[in-house]
Every structure is written in structure tokens, then in C-alpha cells.
């Protein structure tokens, strides 16, 4: 753990801290999945979580919008602060939190409804639109920001499940940003996509950085290097190293990070 303190102090601070986690532990029943994770995630930055399978990066991501609450045996300890507020405070309603912290999942999972309804659902349940015209605006804006408007504008009534994999994933991203979140969590968003669709989504992630704090879990180190400014390396439940992406990939401090990056472990 000594090396981590070194890194925390070495971290550059060009942006405000959006999320800060302290001493986070996650247990699945008796399995200690996340151990002593401390991390500060900055606003308007893409932060990538990398690491071998089962290292806990997805688990930690799901802690940030309390999706782990839906798993009966999961237990989270420690503090995760969003803008200085503890999201695990008893008074916090996870539903409200998830309106602020959106999520895109590994497998594209559009609702079996029309494209329009997919995007409009979030704004509807959060009461973001006053009338139909308002809602139309929100849907169009979200689809434009999701870089999918041109492809679907003529068939908003078509089922969202009828789109191609890459389109579905961008639709899911549009759906997530339609509720105007402040943080966007992405759990391996490109693992089910072909290289062209991946490139489109990556481009989109880079766009999103202007307005959101994006946290992305990825298996592909090239992807992390391409899209992120900050990278965290997880291993066996520990956050091993967290620094600027450049530093992680070119001058890693920890030899576990170096082994992973050079393909010796994982």
C-alpha cells in the first residue's frame, strides 16, 4: 500500500474532484472482492479502469451508482463521495443517485420498445419534460449527442432492438445521457462491438468528456490508452496504480502494472 500513497501525491490536479472514494471494501457474501480502494475521479475527464478478469474493476464501477444494491449478498464499506456527499448515506435514495450517475452496460440492452421510447423513458420518469414538444427536444438532443441521430431520425418508432449492435450501444448511451447525468459509468461498452462500431463509440466518449465525468471499464489496454486521460489498474481486488494514462502506460511505478501492460500477467 505504500506505493499508492506515493501515487496519490503524484497525481496531477488539473480538474476538480468529482468522485472520491476512501477505504472502500466490497464483499460478495464471504468473498472480499474490493480491498481498501482509495481513488479520486476528476470532473470532465475520462478515467479508465483496467485489469485482468475478476480483479474487481466492474464491481467498483457498480459501487459508484449503487447498482450493487440489487445484489442481495453484496456489502459495501467505506466512503464514496459524489461532490462531497456520501452516496452510501442512509438518507440517499439510490434512484435519485442513478439519475445523476448514468450507466452503460457491457451488452447493449435497449428496452424492447421504440427508439423514441427508449430515450424518452428516463426523462419521463424524472419529470424532465413539461410537454410533448419538450420531450421531443430532449430525445433529439440525446440522440444527437449519442451520435446516432442521423441514422435513426426517420424511424424513431422502430424497435430499438432492431438496430445493429453498435447502434444499439450508442442508443443506450443516448438513453443514459438523456437524463442529464453528471457522471457516466461505462462497463466495457465496446466488448460486444466490431472494430468500426468501437471506433464510433470511442469517438463519442471523447466528445462526452466535455460535459461529463466518464468512467470506463475496459479489457483493451489500447482502448484505455486511446480514450482516457486517467487510468487505474486493479489487480486481485486492490487498486494497484492510479495515474495519468501516459504515465501508466509509459512509466508504470508498480511492477505488477508493468507486467500487465506488457502482457506478462492477466
Amino acid at each position: 500500500m505504500e506505493d499508492m500513497h506515493v501515487m496519490t501525491s503524484a497525481m496531477s490536479t488539473q480538474n476538480d474532484t468529482k468522485i472520491s472514494a476512501r477505504n472502500v471494501q466490497v464483499y460478495y457474501a464471504d468473498n472480499h472482492a474490493i480491498k481498501d480502494v482509495d481513488v479520486d475521479i476528476q470532473d470532465k475527464t475520462v478515467t479508465a479502469f483496467i485489469g485482468p478478469s475478476g480483479c474487481g474493476k466492474s464491481t467498483f464501477l457498480r459501487c459508484i451508482n449503487r447498482m450493487n444494491d440489487t445484489i442481495d449478498v453484496a456489502r459495501v464499506e467505506g466512503d464514496i463521495l459524489l461532490d462531497g456527499e456520501d452516496i452510501y448515506d442512509r438518507k440517499v435514495d439510490p434512484v435519485q443517485l442513478r439519475a445523476k450517475v448514468g450507466m452503460v452496460f457491457q451488452k447493449p440492452n435497449p428496452f424492447p420498445k421504440s427508439i423514441y421510447d427508449n430515450v424518452a423513458y428516463g426523462p419521463k420518469i424524472h419529470g424532465l419534460a413539461k410537454n410533448k414538444a419538450d420531450l421531443d427536444d430532449i430525445v433529439e438532443k440525446a440522440l444527437r449527442r449519442g451520435a446516432i441521430w442521423d441514422e435513426v431520425k426517420d424511424r424513431l418508432d422502430a424497435p430499438g432492438t432492431g438496430l445493429s449492435g453498435g447502434q444499439q450501444q450508442r442508443l443506450c448511451i443516448a438513453r443514459a445521457i438523456a437524463t442529464e447525468p453528471e457522471v457516466l459509468l461505462m462497463d466495457e461498452p465496446c466488448s460486444a462491438l466490431d472494430p468500426i462500431a468501437t471506433a464510433q463509440v470511442e469517438e463519442l466518449i471523447d466528445e462526452l468528456r466535455r460535459n461529463y465525468s466518464v468512467v470506463i471499464v475496459t479489457h483493451s489496454m489500447q482502448q484505455a490508452a486511446r480514450v482516457s486521460q486517467k487510468t487505474a489498474f486493479f489487480h486481485l481486488g486492490y487498486l494497484v496504480e492510479y495515474d495519468d494514462t501516459d504515465t501508466i502506460f509509459n512509466r508504470p511505478q508498480d511492477n505488477r502494472t508493468e507486467s500487465y501492460i506488457s502482457g506478462k500477467i492477466g
Partner: protein, 444 residues
């Protein structure tokens, strides 16, 4: 290198002939296909035999022999005190009128067999006919003093003679019909006086006594079954779906919910007659609800159907991919919104199928109804409307059971006819289920 390339093809043999292993595997596959075809063949044969025998026995119950003659409606006999009201008329008054009209017609056609008595001729008419005739007269008072054409229900034996159930040989051994009556019947058929017509009365009439199979119908049973299905649908569907949603989506997974789960699965396997005893003890003896009523029957069937609906609904909910739940929760839907906006609509086709299977099961159930008194002989229709739920009634499967208990062979045909009616209802319900499922699936 050269050795390996030279050796490999020799070991594998030619592709043009099957080796031993492949032959064995192909033979096993062919055998398995044959078993499967055989199994399907057995099932289809059994189904065809069942349907065939029921249709063969039962279709004739929708046809009935009627005697069509002109009947004089004498004012002096029907309106004895001359005040224009039919207050003192009974079936005993009208019975001779029918008999005389038939005798007159027989003599007019000059077809009376030698030495056949008047009362023998009257015996062709069903014992139920005076009552239907009386109803007819009451509804058509303006016809009094004139002649009316009326279809008189023929005796069950005469009906059986037309359908081939009764023959001259069997009449010789039968005290309920004489050979003369059959000879006369043949003559009346030739003169178009007796003929078979479609028998709506079989569907609308109430049950009739053991001696009048020709008049027995399913009206009360159909109404009773309908009322029970309404009770089951109104109670079992919401309770079952609510229970399943809670257990599947909201309940914590602990030992207590595990026990509930196992018990629901076990309840589905409890013999249905046990539910009858439960209903008798709780709904009739303890709660004091009326016996033989569709309400109690419906309650008992609800208890019986609940596990089926719960199991089907939970399976339907489970089959909704978790990614849909994640997606809804991810955009900030609450647990309830997730369930009602996304999970439930996707599970609806499965829930519907389960519910209809449960209802169909309940519709065909006999044993628990025997215990709560629905096996009674009920002549009066239950009221239309809410009061009808507490009036005595029977149910279709119980009516089948009742018919099969009776001695007169004419009831065999009636029982099969009732089974056909029951099957028609079941097929209809399944068709509705399939239709609704298609609708929902198209909407996804």
C-alpha cells in the same frame, strides 16, 4: 515429417465408406428418431381415439326427436273460470290436450297399429312436454281458441329409436316402450310428423329427472361454471401475480422465502379433493357461505389454481433478461417502475398462458366440487347478476359425472354431449390465450 504425412490417410480410411464408429452412431440416431416418432404416434392415436369416441357418442345429443302437430287450444279447457287468466291451468290440464291432438293426427293419417290403445299413443310424448307446452301457452295467450303448431318433445325411447339406440328387439325386453309405439313412430316419420331437429334445449335447459333424459340440459351447469371461472379469474389472477412479483422481485432470499417457495411448489401437487375438504370446513362450516354455490366453488378452485398461476408467473418473470432490469435501474427507475414498466409487460404472455392453463384446469375439476355440494340436482337457474353467485348451481364436469351415474342408457349420449361442450369451452379459452399472447408479443 514424411512418415506422419504418409501414415495419416491410411489410418482414417476412405471418406466414401462409413467406418464402424460412424455406422454405430448413425444407427443410434436413427433408433432415437424412431422412438420419438413412436411416442408421438402413440400420443396422437390416443387423442384421436378419445376425440373419436366422444364425438361418436355425444354429437347425437345435439339432435333430438320432436313431434310436430297442430294443437287446438280450447278456451274452455285452458281458461276454466272464464276470466281470461290462465291461473288454474296445470301440466295435468294440458297433457290430455297434447295426447288428444296426437291421437287425432294418428287417426287422421289412419296409421294406428291394430289394437293400440290411446294411452300407448300418448306415451310417445315426453313427460317433459306438458311443462314446455304450458310455458308456450302462457307466452302466447292470444292464440287461445285457435290452433297452434307446436314441436312436442318425443319420449327418450322414441328419440333412441331414431338414433339407433333402441330397436324392436330391445323394445320387447323394455317395459318403457312397446313395439307398437316403434311401428307407429316409423309411420309418423314417413308422414313427417316426427323428425330430428337441432337441440338448443340441450345447452339451455336445466337438468331433468332420471326418467326424462330427453329433456336434460346443461344450462345450469354452464352458468355455474361461468360464475366459478369469474370468481377464479377475479381472485386468483391478481393474488397470484402480486405474490409472484413480490417473491421474484422484492423478497429477500432467505430461509423463510425458500420455505414459502417449496411450499407453493408442493401445493400445486396436492390432490384436488383435499381442497374440497378445506373448502367444506372453512367456507361452508366456518364462514357459513351457502352450499352448492358458485361462490364457494370458485373460492375452492381459486385455492387450487393459485399455485399454478404463481409458478407460471414466476417462471415468466424469471425469463425476462436481467439486462432489462439493469437498464431500467440504470436510468434511475425505481424498483416498482422497473417491474411495472418493463418486466411485467415482457412477462405478460407467459403470465397469460399460465393463468389460462390454471383456469382450464379449474374448469375441468370435479372432485373438490363434489364435497361442497355442487353435485346436487339443481333445476333452477342461478340468478343473473351478483345474487347468482350464492344460488345453488352445478358445474360442467360435475354434470358429466351426474349423467354417468344414471341408469337410462340415453344419459351416455348426454354425458358425451356435455364433454363436447366442456371441450369446446376449453378450446375457446386456449384460442383466447393464443390470441392475446400474439397481440402482446407483437407490441413487445
Amino acid at each position: 515429417m514424411t512418415d506422419a504425412t504418409a501414415g495419416a490417410p491410411a489410418g482414417k480410411g476412405s471418406l466414401l465408406e462409413e467406418d464402424k464408429r460412424t455406422k454405430r452412431r448413425n444407427a443410434a440416431e436413427a433408433r432415437f428418431k424412431a422412438y420419438g416418432l413412436g411416442a408421438i404416434g402413440i400420443a396422437v392415436t390416443a387423442l384421436l381415439l378419445l376425440l373419436g369416441s366422444i364425438l361418436l357418442n355425444g354429437l347425437s345429443s345435439f339432435q333430438q326427436a320432436f313431434i310436430t302437430i297442430e294443437i287446438p287450444l280450447p278456451a274452455d279447457a285452458l281458461d276454466q273460470d272464464g276470466d281470461g287468466a290462465l291461473d288454474r291451468v296445470t301440466t295435468f290440464t294440458v297433457k290430455p290436450i297434447l295426447e288428444q291432438a296426437l291421437i287425432a293426427r294418428v287417426d287422421e293419417l289412419n296409421i294406428r297399429p291394430v289394437d293400440m290403445s290411446d294411452s300407448d299413443i300418448g306415451g310417445i310424448i315426453s313427460g317433459e312436454a306438458p311443462a314446455t307446452f304450458l310455458d308456450f301457452v302462457r307466452n302466447n295467450e292470444d292464440l287461445i281458441g285457435e290452433n297452434a303448431e307446436f314441436n312436442i318433445l318425443a319420449n327418450g325411447r322414441i328419440d333412441g329409436f331414431l338414433k339407433g339406440r333402441v330397436s324392436m328387439e330391445s323394445a320387447a325386453r323394455d317395459s318403457n316402450v312397446t313395439q307398437d309405439q316403434l311401428i307407429l313412430t316409423n309411420q309418423l316419420i314417413e308422414n313427417d310428423v316426427i323428425e330430428q331437429r337441432f337441440n338448443w334445449d340441450f345447452i339451455t335447459n336445466p337438468d331433468a329427472s332420471e326418467n326424462r333424459p330427453e329433456a336434460a340440459g346443461l344450462g345450469v351447469a354452464i352458468l355455474g361454471s361461468l360464475y366459478m371461472m369469474i370468481v377464479v379469474l377475479v381472485l386468483a389472477l391478481p393474488v397470484g401475480v402480486a405474490a409472484s412479483i413480490y417473491l421474484e422481485e422484492f423478497a429477500p432470499k432467505n430461509r423463510f422465502t425458500d420455505i414459502i417457495e417449496v411450499n407453493i411448489a408442493n401445493l400445486a401437487a396436492v390432490p384436488s379433493i383435499v381442497y374440497g375438504i378445506l373448502g367444506l370446513a372453512i367456507f361452508i362450516n366456518f364462514a357459513g357461505l351457502p352450499q352448492s354455490s358458485p361462490l364457494v366453488g370458485g373460492l375452492v378452485l381459486t385455492l387450487m389454481t393459485l399455485p399454478t398461476i404463481i409458478i407460471a408467473t414466476r417462471a415468466a418473470l424469471k425469463s425476462v433478461p436481467p439486462s432489462i432490469r439493469d437498464a431500467a435501474l440504470g436510468v434511475g427507475a425505481s424498483k416498482m417502475q422497473t417491474v411495472f414498466h418493463h418486466v411485467l409487460p415482457l412477462a405478460a404472455p407467459g403470465i397469460l398462458t399460465g393463468t389460462i392453463i390454471g383456469l382450464a384446469q379449474a374448469l375441468g375439476e370435479t372432485a373438490p366440487l363434489l364435497l361442497i355440494g355442487m353435485v346436487a340436482f339443481v333445476r333452477d337457474y342461478p340468478e343473473l347478476g351478483l345474487e347468482g353467485f350464492t344460488d345453488p348451481a352445478t358445474a360442467l364436469p360435475v354434470q358429466v359425472y351426474n349423467f354417468t351415474q344414471r341408469a337410462d342408457p340415453a344419459f351416455v349420449e348426454r354425458a358425451s354431449g356435455a364433454i363436447i361442450t366442456l371441450l369446446v369451452f376449453l378450446v375457446f379459452m386456449n384460442a383466447v390465450a393464443i390470441f392475446l399472447r400474439r397481440r402482446f408479443e407483437r407490441r413487445w
